[in-house]
């Protein structure tokens, strides 16, 4: 019975997670979200003409982190060596990027005095932090044990990782929500659905940070964020196709239409939340 096999698999996965052996999944997750961010950075920096040389570094780093994440999932040894090294480098790059994005906003006419328009029109403030979350996951993965390994996990590690994951979920949700807030504001909240990520994100962040409250809250909000991200992806894709030229000018319209991958990054926050839930144990 496939249903039964699936149930068994799920139990096994949850058991491994609860035991704190989920290095491969986390490495893979770090790699894949980094790849996703890389695509987003790629077209955003292309749109800005790669005017500064440093704009190439996140492209290189996201690709490297993606490769390292996948490699680490295959070869546990790399998860302890290559992955944390690449992740740390990526984290430094993200911090640098954050500085440049902040400076970019400050340098716009009016600077901080015209914060609302400059936030909306300047470089995206939270985007480098979102990439930073992937680097963070990469570093976390190094501390775990691979799935189905016989090695035991040091006492307290699981809780510690769970706390870290909750933190990651919360920060990522706030960053994602912040991005949604000002870019939907730029669009004047033309559609009511544009409010949904703004409502879900802080709730998810609160549930992730406050480790009390009902047990179902974090997973429920995580699922909501994932569903919202998926729906957002659909809406963004529709927005792109509705631009003049539609699919005949696909690349151009992706470049200037609603950011097609951004909702998926929001969905990823939900996924982090679910992982954290899985680690919570009984």
């Amino acid at each position: 019975m496939p249903g039964a096999t699936l149930r068994e698999l799920e139990t096994a996965v949850v058991a491994e997670a609860e035991a704190g052996r989920m290095q491969r999944s986390l490495a893979l997750l770090a790699g894949l979200t980094s790849g996703l961010s890389g695509l987003e950075v790629g077209y955003m920096h292309y749109r800005a003409g790669f005017g500064q040389r440093i704009m190439w570094t996140p492209i290189v780093m996201t690709q490297a982190l993606q490769a390292a994440g996948i490699a680490a999932a295959i070869q546990p040894k790399l998860a302890r060596t290559l992955l944390p090294a690449v992740s740390a480098l990526t984290a430094v790059d993200c911090a640098t990027g954050w500085f440049f994005h902040i400076r970019g906003i400050a340098r716009k006419p009016g600077g901080w005095r015209l914060i609302v328009p400059n936030l909306a029109m300047g470089p995206p403030l939270f985007a480098p932090l979102l990439l930073g979350i992937s680097a963070y996951l990469g570093i976390l993965a190094a501390r775990l044990q691979p799935e189905f390994s016989s090695a035991s996990v040091p006492a307290g590690l699981r809780e510690s990782i769970e706390r870290h994951l909750c933190l990651a979920t919360g920060i990522a949700a706030l960053c994602s929500g912040g991005e949604a807030l000002y870019s939907h504001h730029k669009n004047n909240f033309r559609y009511w659905v544009q409010w949904t990520p703004i409502a879900v994100a802080p709730a998810l962040a609160a549930a992730a940070f406050a480790r009390r409250g009902p047990r179902w809250l974090l997973p429920a909000l995580s699922v909501a964020a994932m569903a919202d991200g998926a729906a957002g992806f659909g809406y963004h894709a529709r927005g792109i196709l509705r631009r003049p030229g539609g699919h005949k000018h696909l690349i151009y319209n992706i470049l200037y239409g609603p950011p097609v991958l951004a909702p998926l990054l929001f969905a990823a926050c939900g996924f982090f939340g679910l992982l954290a839930t899985a680690l919570r144990g009984k």
């Binding site: 749109r47 800005a48 003409g49 790669f50 005017g51 500064q52 006419p109 030229g245 000018h249 151009y252």
Partner: protein
Amino acid sequence: MKCYREEEAVDYCIVGVGSAGAVLLQRLARAGFKVVGLEAGPFWDTERDWVSDEAGSHQLYWTDLRITGGSDPIALGENNSGRGVGGGSVHWAAFVPRLHPSDFRTYTEDGVGCDWPISYKDLKPYYELIEREMPAAGPAWFTWGDPHGYPYGPHPMGGVGDTLVRGCTKLGIRVCAGGPVAILSGSRADRPHCIYRGFCIQGCKVGAKQSTLISHVPDAIAHGAEIRDRSMVARIHLGPNRRVNAVTYFDRDGREHVQRARAIIVCGYAIETPRLLFNSACPGFEQGLANSSGLLGHYLMVQAGNVVAGRFPDLVRLYKAPPAHAMTEEFYETDPKRDFARGFAVQTVGPLPIAFAKQMAKAKGAWGWGLREVMMDYNHWSTLGVLGEILPAYDNKIELAEEKDDFGLPVAHVTFSLHENDHKMIRFAVKKVEEILLAAGAKEVVEEQRYAHLVGAARMGTRPENSIVDGFCRTHDIANLFICDGSVFPTQGSANPGLTIQALAARTADYLNQQGEAIFTSSHVSREKPPVRRDLSPPVTFGSGVPRV
């Protein structure tokens, strides 16, 4: 800035520091030559002199007296040449498409116009260089002519571009969005990116739009070039051995000076270049300097620039983007199914209110209250421009008029008439643009007849009998006199000329560099192709932007 003494013969004296002149000045200075640029207009202080105001920007143009005639006279002044360091590039819209390979061989391919002495291949490396130096923003893949991509990402479209893309997509016409345009889509070094306020033609105060004033002149000065502004060159002196050796010019106070030079390059734009050469007539060259062929001033060309405007029920807001941001070259080449040779491009134009009012006064005959009513609708109109190739004709020409300017120099008399092929092309093009606007949802379309971009009148060619200069812009008659600006174009294609003018200047600079001292000392004419010098680009040309694949 360096100062040369007048008695001291500099290596090169460049007349006119405009699109071409500034590129030459910068490269020759970087290569170590002593160069002086004499410029009739002012040296702009972009912060002080330029305003984001349509009416306040008229001093950018050459609005001195010129006489116009012929059966289809061209309006002269604010729709053609510039005046001041940077020349026309200060007030151009900065559309920078390349010529197509076929443009260089229209006579061989289509039996019209004439062939260039150089091919597209000769100019291609310089197109690539200048596109980086500007730098040009545009699609990653530009499909027409010789397909290529642009070093900076395309710009977001404004309302006019939207209508062009929508109309073309409906009709199945390929169209490109967001360029090619020499406007920064991302900041680079000390130049900020575009802020989409649409004042490009008024001299971009921000510095996002390229003009040679901001892209090449600073580097020229840094490498020892001198620019004397408000210096109007009156004549070029011919010395012994059929070699030029000095120019006479009037400074800002009207005082006369003579600058000695070992070689002279005239870069004064399609009208002023022939005028200067006519005014420099002397024994041995009674019909004008370097005019043994008698062709100087002939084959003047201008592109058909008819504007078609469409009124849309929804807001278009035509001012909210650079005027240049989307185009199609689908009708560029000769199509045997049509009854005329060569073709046209369709481009966005975004006139600000005064220009728009003038267009509407012409197109609709709107006046008084009627004009006011149209203007209240300004935000609902979209304007697309035809850019059509008018074939070179002997009888379209520049001569000297009886009238004189403030310095007592005879002014130019321009005669221009359209011919049969031109009429057919314009009719077809206007109809096509109307179709595009209607397909995009326009409820009313009107048309204004107009021209754009003067070139020609000192054409390049293979032999002294059929042209004024050779493929390296050297006059056939005088070994150390060069003409390097839009006036050397034998044909003009349907691409805006600015990029090609700057690319030709870069190539000429490479030629002069390769020839070295020989230009000043020998009358032997070498036809050896110069190697491409990438090391003469201004700083920050490489290392930013998207690498070319």
